[in-house]
């Protein structure tokens, strides 16, 4: 992990020679344009979310905030169904985190530490999931979920979201455990620890930050998923399913408020895991 946990700037190939100032100016202009390209839509949807009904129909619009207040957002959260949808989203995402880490980390550990028959087949199965549009597999589950009482529950939604997050969790934890030298564990065995004790006392503390990053990714995957959540819920909708359902009939400022709420956790989470982003995706894309 230490070798791949890369966010420290690697000196650019050209950094030996000074970049001429005209080119430097061009470079930074380009960067600023890209930053604006990413941030501007978020800023505008925030203005829409806090501007209320009047803000939406103001014409022509100014790009500066005028009469923004938290009142429209509070009003949105007060609509029947919105708050419970928010809670359902949090429950589904929380359960997805739990399942994908609990199922994924042991499998990742097995791939990292043991050579066993069927290893390649298992890896292949995990990788194969990527070639499938997984959310669409929620379609046939409607019938069996109704039979088992899983339909229309955040728990049922979290099961299909775990399918999305699990392959990711397996591959990331595999590389995570490969980065923790086996000798540490062996030393603990020598000092009389059982395998489980050695894992809990030596490996787990070292793996914790990486596991946290895996958990956060699982959360974001579930929080953002629209298709399966919409198929598998009717009354106990998640926030994405709720927003999709009311999309055509709700006023614009409510849609923007919903969009803004969806965006916020993502921004914070990406900030929290930025150190792991490349390690995680560098590996997960192998």
């Amino acid at each position: 992990m230490t070798a791949t946990g890369i966010t420290t700037p690697r000196p650019a190939p050209t950094s030996g020679i000074a970049v001429p100032s005209a080119r430097r100016f061009l470079l930074w202009t380009g960067i600023v344009v890209l930053l604006i390209w990413v941030l501007l839509p978020i800023y505008f949807v925030a203005l829409g979310a806090f501007g209320g009904r009047l803000g939406v129909f103001r014409w022509p619009k100014s790009i500066w905030p005028t009469d923004v207040s938290v009142a429209p957002m509070m009003q949105f959260l007060g609509i029947e169904g919105v708050f419970s949808a928010l809670i359902n989203s949090l429950i589904a995402a929380g359960l997805t985190v739990l399942f994908s880490v609990l199922l994924g980390a042991p499998a990742g550990y097995a791939l990292a530490r043991y050579a066993f028959r069927g290893q390649t087949a298992f890896r292949l199965m995990v990788l194969l999931t990527r070639a499938f549009p997984l959310a669409i597999l929620a379609l046939p589950l409607t019938v069996s979920f109704i039979r088992f009482g899983l339909y229309d529950t955040p728990f049922g939604v979290s099961l299909i979201h775990t399918v999305l997050a699990l392959p990711f969790a397996v591959l990331v934890t595999q590389s995570l455990f490969m980065g923790i030298p086996r000798e540490y564990e062996e030393a603990a065995w020598v000092f009389g620890c059982t395998r489980l004790q050695a894992f809990m006392k030596v490996v787990l503390p070292l793996a914790l930050p990486g596991l946290a990053a895996t958990a956060i990714f699982a959360f974001v995957i579930s929080w953002n998923e629209v298709f399966a959540a919409s198929i598998l819920t009717v009354r106990e909708r998640t926030l994405t399913a709720y927003l999709l359902k009311v999309l055509s009939e709700s006023p614009l400022h409510y849609r923007f408020a919903g969009g803004f709420i969806l965006i916020i956790p993502s921004v914070l989470f990406i900030f929290a895991v930025r150190r792991y982003l490349f390690a995680v995706w560098g590996i997960a894309s192998k």
Binding site: I6, T7, A12, P13, L27, G30, L34, W37, V38, L39, F44, V45, W59, K61, I63, L103, G104, P106, A107, A110, R113, Y114, R117, F122, M125, R130, A131, F132, P133, I136, L137, L139, P140, T142, L159, T162, V163, L166, V220, N224, V226, F227, I231, T240, L244, L247, S248, L252, R255, G259, L262, S266, V267, F271, R274, F278, W281, G282, S285, K286
Partner: protein, 283 residues
């Protein structure tokens, strides 16, 4: 790094295997089965009904067109971003964070963010009005303006999903030994030549996974389209959703699902064969 084979690794992977069997393999088989069975018995009735639907050819055309335009643009934009990032020394982490923010944003939220810009009294129209190009609020996301709606969806997808390509490409660039570029520089290779002859070929594995990932996701595109254009722009996953939730016809919905899966698998196989990576080409 390995130890003797025992029951331990099997016990460790068993939960994940059982879970994937129950919620990946079983639904996969069920979907295929469901798509071939209907009231008239086992056969192609669902597929016939799917193909006979008014929206079917539109959905096929729109989804393919969107994928064919969005995915290459995303790769190009991500490469441009990645190369620019290698040139910055200070503030690189901050720039990288901002550029990867959309990674965590759902397609629904991305559609809604761009709706704020593109709606009738939105920011685009305000800007165009300020420049004197339009007389007043104008609709761009209607059935009468299919080209504008299409461009809007392309922009939203480009905005949202370039980040994932960027992350994969940046991770790939970090694996390329910088001695290669230094050597080429000593022999007088210009930046563009270095990019074409060194960076690009060594990035092939990364580009391959980015292309597979993005293409599979592009064929599933749905919420961003609904958020921007409602049902004005039919796409395959949207049709599957409509048949399932609104028409309550699970068979035709399953037929759409099988079609999307078949296209995704074909695309993956195509990328794997075109961009085959020989072991000696790995950085």
């Amino acid at each position: 790094m390995t130890s003797r084979a025992s029951w331990i690794p099997y016990a460790l992977i068993a939960p994940a295997v059982l879970f994937l069997a129950a919620f990946f393999i079983v639904p996969l088989v069920q979907t295929i089965w469901l798509s071939f069975s209907s009231e008239e018995g086992v056969g192609l009735a669902n597929y016939a009904r799917m193909a006979g639907d008014l929206n079917f050819s539109l959905a096929i055309r729109n989804t393919f067109l969107l994928t064919a335009i969005v995915v290459p643009l995303q790769v190009a934009l991500a490469l441009l971003m990645a190369v620019m990032l290698t040139k910055i020394e200070r503030g690189r982490d901050l720039v990288l964070w901002v550029l990867t923010i959309p990674l965590g944003i759902s397609d629904l939220a991305a559609g809604l963010a761009w709706l704020a810009i593109l709606q009738n009294t939105g920011y685009l129209n305000s800007a165009l009005y300020g420049l004197g190009l339009i007389p007043g609020p104008t609709g761009w996301l209607t059935q009468e303006t299919p080209v504008a709606l299409f461009i809007g969806i392309v922009l939203a997808e480009l905005w949202r999903a370039t980040a994932i390509v960027l992350v994969i490409v940046v991770a790939g660039i970090q694996l390329i030994p910088k001695e290669f570029a230094e050597a080429a520089e000593i022999f007088g290779a210009r930046p563009w030549t270095r990019f074409r002859k060194i960076t690009l070929p060594l990035l092939k594995p990364s580009l391959q996974s980015a292309l597979i990932l993005r293409t599979v996701l592009a064929f599933e595109v749905f919420a961003v389209v609904y958020a921007l254009g409602g049902t004005n722009f039919p796409v395959l996953a949207g049709e599957a959703y409509t048949w399932q939730n609104i028409n309550q016809n699970y068979g035709v919905a399953a037929a759409y699902a099988v079609l999307i899966m078949a296209i995704s698998l074909a695309a993956t196989a195509l990328y794997l064969s075109i961009l085959r990576v020989r072991p000696e080409q790995q950085p």
